[in-house]
Symmetry: C2
Subunit: 309 residues, 2 copies
């Protein structure tokens, strides 16, 4: 299939074309720069929400509820479930994507598990590119849900317009959230499974930690029971308030600017990582042997690779 | 302080010198390549264990118990608690490092929370370098504990000689572990908090998922109650069995080889990421503006940055 035809079809909202382009992003093929060039002028219309939190916190169920809420307002929705397992297992697990089946027949909802099969920049570069595919295809709202909670996931969700951090009462205390780098990136806290014991404690602990912050935006804390749909309207409104706050005084543009600057640096880094692999395969192998044998240290070996580029 | 003096002192096991060198790794200063060059010939004696799992799974307590077990065998131990929060908060949180205080007065145990304050390669490059500091200083065993569980954490622990994946009965099912990319990297599974309801279910689920694998090594599943010290001897023995398996047939060397090859590529990538920041500051800002305004796409902007290097 001609990639430019896929772009043209995706711009009209064609689901198969969107799927094809996201696969292409995952694979990181040669056509990617050209496709991104074609898509890019059509982006900028969507608002993105990132969702992170420990595995089992209920992120997928929350996402499904947010889709439902967005559809009430007639917003077109794209969902990316960022799944790091793929580099190991060779294919994104669908797992509880199935749970989102309630929206499977809705033509204005596009849900996709996403991983990187060959993209040289890894998931942190592939994710914004997949977001652009959805953005250009006319989605109003894009939800990026991560599977785990770690450095890469924190960076991915931090690169969204509004970042939700999902905690659960069983998760331990707010110190865990802080250790995982979640306090600094949250625009809205969600305490999910709020019918469980200890929910009020979690809310109180997060409040206490937030009191130490002198940031301009004070994250709201919303209690939800995603399985029942409780608290979803409140969460939706909290997201809207954060969006409103951001669009004022150029804050959203500044946020997007920082994101682009980071992405540009990462594209450059990925390009050279790739050149080492493709142009210096033998040299890399030889130098690796020298380093393993401790005849050379890693930095000296890297210098030789750079000199050969 | 002269870095080479720190290296000389660290090689003798001097704690303050070790601490200074790890800080230097975190900061990613100019002296780093030279320091790594001086340390590198003295490395290779240590065995490394990676511990990953969701926040709150009890990784720190397990680590403390493993330290105790290692000390029974008179092994010198280094611990790195990899903490991604630092790029955001500006300083590693000590949090439950305090819990490891039982070993604080033991001269043969070195415990350190670690983050990246300026290291250009991020935590995935800084971690193996900090491991080398500990290795060169004479530690026999190095435990790398991550705070969260995500792509970067999975990669960091996968880069150890033996990888422990910690699950808890409350964590949900084995599907969560699989989604987070944990099934593929685990050399030993630990089901911690095994006195909680559902522990046997978790063990059974993991077993079922492992049955689908045709890998040469069949990960053991060890139940522990880290707070009480239950199951620690069994875990210790399981680690020893995996170590023995690996040292046979050159498997450990092959594993370390892959790790070095990856590290070399990452050093090259980090070098160019840095050059964009330091040599092309104004150009980066200008191009970012063009991309934000959608007059240029990210790949085209990256091409211009590369051309200017």
């Amino acid at each position: 299939m001609d990639p430019q035809q896929s772009v043209a079809d995706a711009l009209k909202g064609d689901r198969r074309a969107i799927a094809r382009l996201i696969s292409l992003v995952e694979d990181g093929g040669r056509d990617l720069p050209e496709i991104m060039k074609a898509l890019y002028p059509h982006t900028g219309g969507a608002y993105s929400i990132g969702i992170t939190g420990a595995p089992g916190a209920g992120k997928s169920t929350l996402t499904e509820r947010l889709i439902g809420r967005a559809r009430q307002d007639d917003r077109k929705v794209g969902v990316l479930a960022v799944d790091p397992s793929s580099p190991f297992s060779g294919g994104a697990l669908l797992g509880d994507r199935v749970r989102m089946q309630s929206h499977a027949t809705d033509a204005e909802v596009f849900i996709r598990s996403m991983a990187t099969r060959g993209h040289l920049g890894g998931i942190s570069l592939a994710t914004p590119e997949a977001v652009r595919v959805l953005d250009a295809s006319g989605k109003d709202l894009i939800v990026i849900e991560t599977v785990g909670v770690g450095q890469a996931e924190v960076e991915i969700t931090d690169a969204c317009d509004t970042t939700l951090v999902v905690l659960t009462p069983g998760w331990g205390d707010a110190v865990q959230a802080s250790k995982a780098g979640l306090m600094e990136i949250a625009d809205v806290f969600v305490v999910n499974k709020a019918d469980r014991q200890g929910s009020k404690d979690t809310v109180r602990e997060v409040k206490q930690m937030l009191e130490m912050s002198d940031a301009e935006w004070k994250p709201e804390i919303i209690e939800t029971i995603a399985t029942k749909g409780d608290g979803i309207d409140e969460l939706w409104d909290a997201i809207a308030r954060h969006r409103e706050f951001q669009t004022g005084a150029g804050r959203l543009e500044e946020r997007r600017r920082r994101r682009i600057a980071r992405e540009l640096r990462e594209i450059v880094a990925a390009r050279y990582r790739n050149r080492v692999e493709t142009e210096s395969t033998e040299l890399l192998e030889e130098l690796t042997g020298e380093v393993v044998a401790r005849r050379m240290d890693p930095y000296a070996a890297a210098e030789k690779l750079i000199a050969a580029l």
